[in-house]
Symmetry: C2
Subunit: 322 residues, 2 copies
């Protein structure tokens, strides 16, 4: 093969080989985990949608009607949904029920969660990664649903990466200018309130301004990296989870595939700070794991090329000459 | 769904709906056509590889060992290979044999092909698009193989889009600086030689400096657009074919999906001139249809979303409020 002709697919394939410790990495069994939870910060008027939408979307996931369901069906990807803290009593067949609490607290008034609650949510995610390993999943993806969580993720990213709120905060599912102003002010105030107690400890910030689904995704990421399952990170919110993990273990980057650069706020800038290159750039800002689902065929294709492609020599093709 | 949350997938899906004249476009049956031919201009020392590589790669396609074979298998895509003018006697099962001539002429000395030869190659492509329609193909892709064809494509693009050779010419499969200089000089000289006879007629330029595979791809593109089969264009060389078609029918753009921005020369600039936005940007420069294969799942996903996604109302999700 002409050197470099496969461009970024080569580095994707080589990283897969490193994670799986084989030159023939398989990607047959793909699975996406969608974690859902509610946020006390929604009371601050930071979302264009009311809080009950979280529970309604979980019901929609269970019914198979959401974007992530459609993309998983189209891409041959298994899909699991976790309630890790939705502010409603859910009784949906097909949803893994593991609520830590019915929504976090309003982090303008107190920490969003206790350290114990944060740990509990984290373990839901790490347990899901363990299950994926037991099930022989070759490629794992994560995504989320939670009204208010783009504000929570922005606060977390600003705190850990030391970026200004104006750079990171975006419109989420579509707040107007006034709403955007409220989000920026909320993040600034949250950083001020919690700085003294959290310092530069990413896990403390996660508990102070994060969410149960953000903690669960972080747990899944940490565990997937530890046990060697390649993991595809969804968009802005999922990147916040990855940032928490990478703050304590920068090498985790090697086990992760950042699926896309979201249209949300400063996602592009955040990815730059993390020194990672997203696979896709399609102006998505839907979450749920949709970016991960769309990037999986590219990761899968790169693995297939590494496994199955004939070299020039084995195919009897003449070498490059001058 | 929050407005715009699906980003560029929305415009992909809406264009598919327009092409297929249905709000439930299917993409079940996907097919990629790889056209192969040789180029007299290879004698000018414009390629890093010897001409016999074209025939060897066609044999590799037939044996299933090339990148395009691997990606088509991984993506559930049918793959057909056409010999439209390889400079060797090929006897490969599984290759559609339709050679116009054993390679084009050296366009520094005379036109690469006669108008009749160009038309013959074009019809191989349009016939393949007709067959795809008869077979019920939902999504068609095109790609190519031909040592020397990045020089041919660059000349064609410079002529039709009136761009300088220095902007468009690239390293192909990897020429060194001296080779790059020869390619630029070759393109400039070709433009000078053929300008008087070709004027601003794209089809005349195609015959003068193009290739049989480039003409065949143009035929497939024109016919696919005419009969309403959505077509995914591969990289730099395939874009030259699309440019020929769009020169005579700018509306053809609506029927085409440009799969990726190649690392080859001025492909990004060319796509800008054509006012099209590529789906992927992965630094590929392999051709064969590999970019088309990698972009097909994204196009397919956008169609699935349009077909199958519940609206907020049908899923019982609360509307946006203030």
């Amino acid at each position: 093969m002409p050197p470099g002709a496969l461009g970024r697919l080569e580095s994707l394939a080589l990283r897969l080989a490193g994670i799986r410790q084989t030159l023939t990495p398989r990607t047959d069994r793909k699975r996406i985990l969608t974690f859902a939870a509610d946020h006390g910060i929604a009371a601050a008027g930071v979302s264009a949608f009311p809080q009950e939408v979280t529970a309604q979307m979980v019901a929609n996931f269970a019914a198979g009607g959401a974007a992530i369901n459609v993309l998983c069906r189209d891409g041959g990807i298994e899909h699991l949904v976790f309630d890790v803290g939705v502010a409603a009593s859910l009784d949906c067949a097909g949803v893994v029920s593991a609520p830590v609490r019915r929504g976090t607290r309003n982090f303008l008034k107190e920490p969003a969660m206790t350290a114990e609650e944060c740990e509990k949510a984290w373990r839901v995610g790490s347990g899901a990664a363990d299950t994926a390993r037991e099930d022989g999943v070759d490629l794992l993806g994560i995504g989320e649903m939670g009204i208010g969580n783009s504000t929570s993720a922005a606060a977390l990213l600003c705190a850990i990466l030391d970026l200004p709120a104006e750079v990171v905060v975006g419109r989420g599912t579509g707040v107007d200018n006034a709403g955007l102003g409220r989000k920026v002010a909320t993040v600034k105030e949250a950083l001020r309130i919690h700085r003294e107690t959290c310092g530069d400890r990413a896990r403390d910030w996660l508990a102070a301004v994060g969410g149960y689904e953000i903690a669960a995704m972080a747990g899944a990421i940490e565990r997937a990296v530890a046990v060697g399952i390649p993991l595809v990170v969804d968009g802005f919110i999922a990147t916040a989870s990855a940032t928490v993990v990478m703050a304590d273990n920068p090498l985790a980057r090697e086990g992760l595939f950042f699926s896309h650069c979201s249209a949300e706020g400063g996602h592009g800038r955040v990815l730059q700070e993390l020194e990672v290159e997203p696979i896709l750039d399609l102006d998505l800002r839907l979450g749920e794991g949709t970016g991960a689902a769309l990037a999986m065929p590219i990761v899968s294709g790169s693995a297939a090329l590494l496994r199955e492609m004939a070299t020039f020599r084995s195919a009897g093709v003449a070498e490059k000459g001058e």
